[in-house]
Symmetry: C2
Subunit: 214 residues, 2 copies
């Protein structure tokens, strides 16, 4: 109870929620993933621990909010790195994504490597794609590649595959820092180039389609 009851009263719900998100963000940056606890978070904003549950269903919900935040800043960062060649623009997305992950491993871990079994209330798949700015930019740049005839296939599928490879690379580098990947940057570039070479050589069907062969 660091704050007076009256001041607490005046706060708007949305404001308080984003204040909680901001505090959570700070906590993660300052003390790492393990530093983010409900009690600490509550203390930061002058609430009792259980009051946090008025704004978040559970801890996962907080992490989800952090993820949304991270997506936004990531998208902003990406858009600061345009390129003439559409393929290069795509590579820039991957590079920025990797730089973000390797530069903020704690953040990346909480956002992309902790289980999110259930969507927060009112979220849907569409939200995950449409409401995710980073994915939106990625898809947009993929679409540019398709439009320019540099890639063939379903943009969303291509984007998801790029995300998959990027995430695999980053999370492995974070989780096994001593594994002999060689230079991290070089490995990121290797995987990025490899994936894009593969994508340029194929027509990528949509995700829901499940072609059966082999």
């Amino acid at each position: 109870m660091a704050l007076s009851v009256q001041k607490r009263r005046e706060k708007q719900k949305a404001e308080l929620r984003s204040e909680l998100v901001a505090a959570a963000h700070k906590l993660v940056q300052e003390e790492g993933y393990e530093g983010l606890t409900i009690r600490k978070l509550a203390k930061r904003v002058g609430y009792a621990p259980m009051s946090v549950y008025s704004y978040f269903a559970d801890k996962q919900d907080i992490l989800f909010a952090l993820a949304e935040d991270a997506f936004e800043t990531l998208a902003r960062r990406i858009e600061e790195h345009p390129a003439d060649d559409p393929i290069e623009a795509l590579k820039a997305v991957m590079t920025e994504y990797a730089a973000f992950g390797l530069g903020n491993p704690n953040e990346y871990r909480t956002v992309f490597m902790t289980e999110k079994t259930k969507l927060p209330e009112g979220r849907s798949y569409a939200d995950m794609e449409e409401g995710n700015p980073a994915m939106k930019v990625l898809i947009k740049r993929v679409e540019a590649c398709v439009a320019a005839g540099r890639l063939k296939g379903d943009p969303r599928a291509i984007a998801t595959m790029l995300w998959t490879v990027g995430h695999g690379t980053i999370s492995l580098l974070i989780t096994f820092p001593f594994y002999p990947f060689g230079d991290a940057q070089a490995y990121v570039k290797r995987m990025c180039d490899f994936t894009l070479a593969g994508l340029q050589a194929q027509d990528i069907p949509p995700l829901t389609a499940t072609p059966v062969n082999c």
Copy 2:
């Protein structure tokens, strides 16, 4: 004589450790992953909760032991299903690996998605490759592909790249189960085929080499 006493102690210790692992396995089977707690485990074998820590560094260590068991059976399962074509044999590894990860997400998470600054005592990255039977099989089959002229390049680099894509796929599916990947099996197959197509189209240099262009 002091030596035999020492050995006897170690043997007893190992016995109790595996007894604990067995009890843990049973607990998981009976009550699910959430049913595995130190306190319950201790009660099962008639010990105080803290006594478990004489045999395991922490709970992750227990899960790691469980995962080792699982990987052994996985490797066995893989080798029971060989394929004539070396590339298909490689795909089989990936498929089984994915099936394990998606079927045992908690084990997968503890082994491959939690920071490995502290591996269980006596484990190293050589162990990660040599001591993990599944990874061992992967490298072996990559080598078979290279020997058969179906793949070109450094086997370890190729295996690492396959691991990267496989891990990206599995961990994403685990972490964001609500994301519209479509059918998980189909997505795994897609990524697997895609990656192998790419690998077959290139000569893969060793990891330490860091080619610089673009």
